[in-house]
């Protein structure tokens, strides 16, 4: 998987700059990585349509980038914007926790 910027800008774009800058760190195309990417896209489409940008970084190709965001676990989702930086590790299969992690939903239960 190469580093790629997936910009989702459907029809009505409220602003030119997305409010949500998300980075997904992976290491090769592993089942977990693929699952994480799929899950992330789904969640973003549902909750952040038009306001987000996902950057996928493959550490096998750019290992030096792991340092900057203190990446330890794979896959890791880093919310660069809005501040503060948030990190979510795992395949993002637990949508509730992802939403909590992204501050998209108040903690329930």
């Amino acid at each position: 998987m190469t580093t790629k910027t997936v910009k989702k800008k459907p029809g009505k774009a409220p602003s030119s700059e997305p409010l949500w800058d998300l980075r997904l760190y992976v290491a090769g195309r592993t089942p977990k990585s693929v699952a994480a990417f799929t899950n992330l896209q789904k969640i973003c489409e549902e909750h952040l349509a038009g306001q987000y940008r996902i950057t996928v970084i493959d550490l096998l190709e750019q290992p030096q980038l792991a340092r900057g965001d203190q990446i330890l676990a794979i896959p890791t989702l880093v919310r660069k914007l809005p501040q503060p930086i948030k990190k979510i590790i795992g395949d993002l299969s637990n949508t509730e926790r992802v939403l909590v992690g992204l501050d998209l939903r108040a903690v329930e239960v």
């Binding site: 550490l59 990446i71 330890l72 676990a73 979510i88 993002l92 299969s93």
Partner: protein
């Protein structure tokens, strides 16, 4: 001793590759270093020196063995680390610039991390791999990987990943140190020892009687022999150093060369030539008996012969010793300037006995002296329990003897205790034992010295008076008389008395001789007078005889004249002839 272990290390090194750490003493204990290409666990409590050991392993590898290293820290940032070890003379920035070292700080903050489903620690592997490849690392340190447990909650994944990590490190062929915090009843809090099974080193920082001692122990070392004792170690301005002394046995060579004590008469007492080189000498005595003076004298003599002396003072500062010794005519300062004499003074309570010995060991290794002076060794007791002190001194002495270093120790005996009992009970380790004692007599205190024992030489069994003057140390014969041993003024008085008595008897003899001569002269005079009388008598006799003859002649003449006058007959020829 150390050399022997080293030799053994080389033979086992063929069986199991060893990676020399370059840390003083550690390679001796482990017979050559850590297992090459395998992870080693270094565990211990907080502040016991784990990180320092690890970082020195990396730095020495990079600087001494040309093995670049990677330092992954989970607790301190790289910048903090750089600052922390700068005081030890390690310039990490420079090593990074020269591509000898790669540092990475892995921050694990639980509050920032949300766990959602399955994950692994591939990110860590990637970073580690990247660091290793960027410098071609042969050594890796993970300090302290257990921090992961506080940052990530899924311990099942963590444990599996750690197992994979250690396997991966082995496959990479790097020699790794993993540090771990000591747990309650376990070596590490999270039981990492379970995964690192090749070599485990435990560090300990113990406080006994308010004195701290650091100790190191090799808990296990698969596939290699290793020292199993606890070894004291120190962390000082030059880093980590372990004291690898053990009582390995009594196989040190015994030299036959001699070394002067610096006091000619003392040499005479010791079979005429002084101490054996490489022997251990103890001078014991009560306070103020001149133990330090003897030490200084020995130091001076050794320096004069061109050999190096290391002087450990536990009571006085170097400048105090120099000043005091100058007062008794022993000027040590030139030798210090020449680099033949080095002082190392510290308070015994500065740290525990093991640490003292570790410091001493390090100094000896650095300075390579021919003579080591410890003044006084009894102060060591203040730094430990008697049993510990004894065992540590035993180790030290074995080490020194193995190195053929002459050890000169002083021991302070307390007044009232038997002098022959040295406080640290090390008498059996001593080859030559001098006893300096007070002799109280006639209202004064004088010093006497004698050789209590001296292995392998015909030594004097006599007490000498030991006098410290501005010209140095002198040994004098004591007065042995009917009143016992006399020293000091009593000796002088006795000597004066003897001199007086001798003078008196000399005078008496003279007088008698004069008298006899006078008598003889008188007799001679008498003889002369008598002889004069004899001469006079002789003269008188002769006179009488002559007179008699004259008278006869006269009478004859008279008679003849008368006869002539009377016209008497010629008396005839015969008569005339007879008268003639």
């Amino acid at each position: 001793m150390a050399g022997k272990i080293g030799k053994g290390g080389r033979t086992t090194a063929a069986a199991l590759g060893k990676c020399a750490t370059g840390i003083v003493g550690l390679d001796e204990i482990t017979n050559g270093g850590l297992p090459r290409g395998r992870p080693t666990l270094v565990c211990g409590g907080a502040g016991c020196g784990k990180t320092l050991l690890a970082i020195e392993f990396i730095v020495r590898g990079a600087t001494q063995f040309n093995e670049p290293g990677v330092f992954i820290s989970f607790e301190e940032t790289s910048e903090e680390l750089v600052q922390n070890v700068r005081s030890l003379g390690f310039d990490l920035h420079d090593l990074v610039r020269r591509k000898k070292l790669a540092m990475d700080f892995v921050r694990v903050e639980r509050s920032e991390i949300e766990e959602t489903g399955e994950y692994d620690l591939e990110g860590l592997f990637v970073r580690l791999n990247h660091a290793i490849e960027s410098v071609g690392a042969r050594r890796v340190v993970l300090d302290t990987i257990e921090a992961l447990f506080s940052g990530l909650s899924n311990t099942a994944i963590l444990r599996a990943e750690l197992r994979r990590l250690f396997r991966w490190l082995k496959d990479k062929g790097v020699t790794a140190i993993i540090t771990g915090e000591k747990g309650d009843g376990t070596l590490t809090r999270q039981g990492i020892e379970e995964y690192v099974s090749d070599c485990v080193i435990m560090l300990d920082h113990r406080i006994h009687e308010q004195l701290s001692t650091r100790r190191l122990r090799v808990v296990k070392y698969r596939g290699s022999t290793h020292g199993t004792n606890e070894y004291p170690f120190i962390i000082d301005a030059e880093g980590f150093s372990v004291l690898p002394v053990t009582s390995v046995g009594l196989d040190h060579p015994a030299g036959t060369t001699r070394i002067s004590s610096g006091v000619p008469r003392l040499d005479t007492m010791l079979g005429g030539q002084g101490f054996y080189r490489g022997s251990s000498i103890l001078v014991s005595g009560t306070a103020g008996t001149g133990k330090t003076s003897l030490s200084a004298s020995f130091a001076q003599a050794t320096c004069q012969s061109g050999a190096k002396v290391l002087y450990f003072g536990f009571e006085e500062s170097p400048s105090q010793i120099l000043r005091n010794m100058r007062a008794i005519g022993i000027n040590l300062e030139p030798w210090v300037k020449k680099g033949l004499l080095r002082f190392h003074s510290s308070r015994p309570t500065l740290y525990g006995i093991e640490t003292h010995l570790a410091v001493m060991h390090k100094q000896i290794e650095q300075f390579q002296p021919a003579v080591v002076i410890v003044d006084p060794i009894t102060n060591m007791i203040a730094a430990g329990v008697a049993q510990d002190v004894r065992s540590m001194l035993l180790r030290l002495m074995d080490y020194l003897k193995g190195r053929q270093i002459t050890t000169f120790m002083t021991s302070l005996s307390h007044a009232g205790t038997p002098l022959e009992r040295s406080d640290v009970a090390i008498s059996s380790l001593i080859d030559t034992w001098l006893l300096v004692r007070d002799i109280e007599l006639g209202g004064e205190r004088n010093r006497g010295i004698y050789v209590l024992k001296s292995r392998g030489m015909a030594h004097s069994n006599q007490i000498r008076e030991f006098r410290i003057s501005p010209r140095g140390i002198e040994l004098l014969d004591v007065y042995l008389g009917p009143a016992g041993v006399l020293t000091g003024t009593a000796r002088l008085v006795q000597e004066a008395q003897e001199q007086a008595a001798e003078a008196a008897s000399n005078r008496e003899l003279q007088r008698q001789r004069t008298e006899a001569q006078a008598k003889r002269k008188a007799l001679e005079a008498q003889i002369a007078a008598l002889q004069a009388q004899v001469v006079a008598q002789d003269q008188a006799l002769e006179h009488l005889a002559r007179e008699g003859r004259d008278r006869t002649t006269h009478e004859q003449r008279e008679r003849r004249a008368m006869a002539q006058s009377r016209q008497a007959d010629d008396i005839g020829t015969p008569r005339r002839g007879a008268n003639r």
